[in-house]
């Protein structure tokens, strides 16, 4: 358990699952959840390299920034999705290919 490779493998699995969700899901909210998975995978990598690279705190600071950006992104993306739902009555992102109705 105490090895860098384990964490990197878990993180790569999480990243790949998130990527799978982004390319296959057709629902805006589901795509957003998959993006959160990808961001978490990146964070695990930051912290794993910090822990096994001499406990360098810079990785922690960058992970903190990633969490902040994820929060901002989720808020704005959900506002956009709710607007799309109000205008088009669907959140299937394949149906939303026009800037106005």
């Amino acid at each position: 358990m105490d090895s860098l490779v384990n964490y990197l493998l878990v993180s790569s699995i999480l990243f790949s699952l998130g990527l799978y969700g982004v390319v296959t899901r057709r629902n805006g909210v589901a795509v957003l959840m998959s993006i959160e998975l990808i961001l978490n995978a990146a964070n695990i990598n930051f912290l794993a390299f910090a822990r096994f690279g001499g406990m360098n705190m810079t990785g922690h600071v960058y992970a903190l920034f990633v969490i902040v950006l994820a929060a901002a992104e989720a808020a704005v993306a959900l506002a956009i999705i709710i607007n799309i739902f109000n205008n088009f009555n669907t959140i299937n992102i394949d149906d939303v290919s026009e800037l106005k109705q």
């Binding site: 490779v5 964490y7 878990v10 998130g18 990527l19 390319v23 096994f52 969490i67 929060a71 709710i82």
Partner: protein, 162 residues
């Protein structure tokens, strides 16, 4: 003992993230995402990141997940049972993603990582705070401005009529 705990946490994380991308119901996906976040928090604790673990719970579980569930509830009429939710090109996506995962795994296993030995710190909060207010003061302020902008933008976007 801690070996078992680590692998249980890894199992929870990977299994529930698989549920997130695979589940038929969007609400089940959101609940599975909760367990993914909890599992990732456990991994953070194994990585000696106590402050980040607490932030993960507070921001992701307390903030982002609640927002996502709000989004699901607001974009589906309560009367309609079937939550509009389909996956497309599953097999093609799976092939591409499994190939990508194999590539990543090969890269990880074949790279000779340089691992530095170090002792477990007593706490990480003071070091993070020192870095944030000294070396990373400008990014810190920029991020606070960005959060303010995102807050105002999200409120403006989701108003009914301007």
């Amino acid at each position: 003992m801690s070996d078992i705990a680590f692998w249980v946490i890894v199992g929870i994380t990977v299994g529930s993230s698989f549920m997130v991308v695979q589940s038929k119901s969007l609400l089940y996906s959101a609940y599975a995402l909760l367990f993914t976040f909890i599992g990732v928090t456990g991994l953070y604790i194994f990585l000696w990141a106590d402050f980040l673990a607490v932030v993960q719970v507070v921001v992701y579980v307390g903030g982002i997940l609640v927002l996502i569930i709000f989004g699901i509830m607001l974009t589906n009429k309560i009367t309609s049972v079937n939550i509009s939710h389909t996956s497309m090109q599953k097999s093609m996506g799976a092939v591409v993603v499994i190939a990508f995962m194999g590539l990543l795994g090969y890269m990880i296993l074949s790279t000779p990582w340089l691992v530095l030995s170090n002792a477990e710190p007593s706490d990480t909060t003071s070091a993070i705070g020192r870095l944030l207010l000294m070396d990373y003061l400008l990014p810190f302020e920029a991020v606070s401005l960005l959060l303010l902008g995102a807050l105002i933008g999200a409120t403006t976007l989701s108003r009914k009529d301007t």
